[in-house]
C-alpha cells in the first residue's frame, strides 16, 4: 500500500505506530490516511481545504472535514491525537509557526514535511538565472504559487529552536530516496521532521 505513496508520505507512514490516532492536516484526497488505516490500523481523521479532495477522501470511506489549517485547528481539543501530520502544506499557510504550534497542542507529536527551498538547484537557478526557481519540487510560477512561505531546512530548524520544540526525528529526501543529513540544507529536496512540543 505504501509503495504507491508520495515518498515523504511513505516515510511518515513507516514511522506511525500501529493503532495510533492520527490527524492529517492538508490530507488531500486521503492517500496517506487510507494507507495508515489499511496497513497500520490507525484511527485517522483529515482536514482539507479543497472540496473536491474532501469528496474524494470521504468517498473512500475516510473521515475528512473541509477546513483551513490557518483557522480551523483551534477547534480540535488538546492532546486528542497521537500524531498530527502536516505534509507539504506548511509553506502554504499564512502563519506556519502558529500552525505548527497548533499541531503540537492537538497531537503528542507532529510530522511536518516540506520542500526545501535551499536545495542547490533552486539556489543555482536564482543565482545564475536571476529567476525564481520553477522545477519538479516547486513547479509553480511565482505569481500563481500556493507556496506563500518558502522555507529552508535551516530556517525550519531555527524556528524549532526559537519555540523550544524538540526534534524526535528528521529525514531527508532527494529524488524520492532517503539521503543523509550532512549538508541536507543544500542537497535534500524534501525534509520530514517529527516534533514534540
Amino acid at each position: 500500500m505504501t509503495d504507491t505513496l508520495r515518498p515523504d508520505l511513505a516515510l511518515i507512514a513507516r514511522h506511525v505506530a500501529r493503532g495510533a490516532r492520527v490527524l492529517d492536516v492538508g490530507c488531500g484526497d486521503g492517500a496517506l490516511m487510507a494507507a495508515l488505516r489499511d496497513s497500520a490500523g490507525a484511527d485517522v481523521r483529515g482536514l482539507e481545504i479543497d472540496p473536491a479532495n474532501v469528496a474524494s477522501a470521504v468517498a473512500r470511506g475516510l473521515s475528512v472535514v473541509q477546513g483551513d489549517a490557518d483557522t480551523d485547528l483551534s477547534y480540535y481539543p488538546d492532546n486528542s491525537f497521537h500524531y498530527a501530520i502536516l505534509s507539504q502544506t506548511l509553506q502554504t499557510t499564512r502563519r506556519p509557526d502558529k500552525v505548527v504550534q497548533e499541531l503540537l497542542r492537538i497531537g503528542k507529536q507532529a510530522f511536518v514535511s516540506f520542500p526545501n527551498f535551499a536545495h542547490w538547484r533552486g539556489r543555482f537557478s536564482l543565482l545564475f538565472g536571476g529567476r525564481m526557481p520553477v522545477n519538479k519540487i516547486l513547479p509553480h510560477l511565482w505569481y500563481d504559487t500556493p507556496n506563500i512561505h518558502h522555507v529552508t531546512i535551516d530556517d525550519f530548524r531555527a524556528m524549532v529552536r526559537e519555540h523550544g520544540w524538540k526534534i524526535d526525528g528528521q529525514w531527508f529526501l532527494n529524488g524520492g530516496r532517503e539521503t543523509g543529513s550532512t549538508n541536507a540544507n543544500l542537497f535534500a529536496e524534501h525534509a520530514v521532521f517529527l516534533l514534540r512540543g
Partner: protein, 381 residues
C-alpha cells in the same frame, strides 16, 4: 424457515411497501407536555431488511416534503422528491438497503397532524393539535421502527428540516443509529430563520378564511395566505445568482411593462405558480405547526447551550454537507456542528459543495453529494 418462504412472508407482510399507513396506540409523550394517542404514521419502505437487520436507512424529509421519496406523489403525480439519490445504482439503493421514509408528525400526507380527526370528538384537531418539536418527530419515527422490527439504523439521512431530524436522532437514540448524514441543515434556527417563518405564519393567519384554524368543515381553506407563505419561503430556498440566471428582469409574456400590478416579471409569475400549486398539496395548519417545530429547534438548548455536550452521548459517525450558495442554512452552521462534534471527540466528515442553486441544491442533480453519501455509507457497511 426457508429463504423462499422468508421472501414470500416479506412480500405479503402488510407493514412493508409503498403507501403504507399504520395507527400506533401510543401514547407519544411530547416535549410541549401532554401526549398524543393514537399516532398515525404514513410511510413507504423500499428494499428489504437483511438477516442481521443491519441495512436499514431512514430518510427524513424537509418541511413540506413527504414520504414519497422515490415513488410518484399521489396528488401531483410527480416522481419521488429524491430519485437522484435513492434508487437502483444510487447511493441509497433498495437492492442493498432497507429504506424507510415517513411523513413527519404534524404534516398532512397521512401522519397525525392538525387535519387529522381527533378520535375523541370525531372532528379534525385543527389548532387543538399539540405543538410538536423535531424531537417529537424523531420519537414518532422510532415508534414506527419498532413497528417495522428495525432495532438499529445503518444511517439516518435528511436535508434541511430532515437534516435537523438526522442530527437529533443520535442524541435521542444513541444506540439505535450508526451513522447520520445531515445535508444543508443547522443545529438551531437563527433569528432570521424564525423571522421568515413568522412572515409565513402571519400570512396564513391574516387570511380571513383561516378562521382560527377551523376551515376543515366547509373545505374553504386559507389558500391565499398559504400561497403567500410559500412564496416568501421559496425565495429563501433559492440564491440571488440562481434567480438572476433563471429570470433576470425578463418580462412574462409581454413586450413592455404594464404599469400595473399583474405579474409583469417572470419571477413574479414563477412565485405565484409556486404558491398556487403548493396549496393543492399542503394544509395551512400543518404549515403553522411544522414551521413552529423548526423554530423551536436548538439542539444545544438542553445542554447549557453547548452543542458539544449535546453530542456527548452519541455514538454515530456523522457526515455533514453544505452548499456554498445556501443562505437559509449557510455553511457556517454546518461548520459549527463539525466543531462541536470534534470537541466531543466524535467521528465527523464535512464538505461544502459548490452549487448555484442555494438551499434547494440538495434536491437537484449533485454528483459530488452522491459520491460523498455513497462513500460514507459504504465505509459503515
Amino acid at each position: 424457515m426457508s429463504v423462499q418462504s422468508d421472501i414470500a412472508a416479506a412480500a405479503t407482510d402488510q407493514r412493508f411497501g409503498l403507501r403504507r399507513t399504520v395507527r400506533l396506540p401510543g401514547p407519544l409523550k411530547l416535549d410541549g407536555g401532554g401526549a398524543l394517542a393514537p399516532v398515525d404514521i404514513a410511510y413507504e419502505t423500499y428494499g428489504s431488511l437483511n438477516a442481521d437487520g443491519s441495512n436499514a436507512i431512514l430518510i427524513c424529509h424537509a418541511l413540506t416534503g413527504d414520504q414519497f421519496v422515490a415513488s410518484s406523489h399521489p396528488v401531483t403525480g410527480k416522481p419521488g422528491w429524491w430519485t437522484r439519490a435513492v434508487g437502483p445504482d444510487k447511493p441509497i439503493d433498495p437492492d442493498r438497503h432497507f429504506i424507510i421514509c415517513a411523513n413527519v408528525l404534524g404534516s398532512c400526507l397521512g401522519s397525525s397532524g392538525p387535519a387529522s380527526v381527533d378520535p375523541v370528538i370525531g372532528v379534525p384537531y385543527a389548532m387543538r393539535f399539540p405543538v410538536i418539536t423535531i424531537a417529537d418527530m424523531v420519537r414518532a419515527q422510532a415508534m414506527l421502527l419498532d413497528h417495522l422490527g428495525v432495532a438499529k439504523l445503518e444511517a439516518v439521512i435528511g436535508g434541511s428540516m430532515g437534516g435537523m431530524q438526522a442530527l437529533a436522532w443520535p442524541t435521542i437514540f444513541p444506540d439505535r443509529v450508526r451513522g447520520a448524514i445531515v445535508i444543508a441543515s443547522t443545529a438551531r434556527h437563527s433569528a432570521q430563520n424564525i423571522a421568515f417563518h413568522e412572515v409565513g405564519r402571519q400570512a396564513i393567519m391574516a387570511d380571513p378564511r383561516w378562521r382560527g384554524g377551523n376551515y376543515y368543515a366547509d373545505g374553504d381553506a386559507p389558500a391565499a395566505g398559504l400561497a403567500v407563505a410559500r412564496m416568501a419561503a421559496h425565495i429563501t430556498y433559492l440564491s440571488e445568482a440562481g434567480l438572476t440566471e433563471k429570470f433576470g428582469r425578463r418580462l412574462q409574456g409581454r413586450d413592455s411593462k404594464t404599469f400595473g400590478f399583474d405579474a409583469d416579471f417572470q419571477v413574479e409569475s414563477y412565485l405565484r405558480h409556486q404558491g398556487i400549486s403548493f396549496v393543492e398539496r399542503f394544509d395551512a395548519n400543518s404549515y403553522l405547526y411544522i414551521t413552529r417545530a423548526t423554530d423551536y429547534f436548538d439542539l444545544a438548548e438542553d445542554h447549557d447551550g453547548s452543542l458539544a455536550l449535546a453530542f456527548g452521548r452519541t455514538r454515530a459517525r456523522f457526515c455533514l454537507i453544505s452548499f456554498d450558495t445556501d443562505w437559509l442554512y449557510p455553511t457556517r452552521e454546518s461548520r459549527n456542528i463539525v466543531h462541536a462534534l470534534h470537541a466531543a471527540g466524535r467521528e465527523a466528515s464535512f464538505v461544502e459543495l459548490a452549487s448555484p442553486f442555494g438551499h434547494d441544491a440538495f434536491l437537484l442533480e449533485a454528483p459530488e453529494m452522491n459520491r460523498v453519501i455513497d462513500g460514507f455509507l459504504r465505509a459503515g457497511e
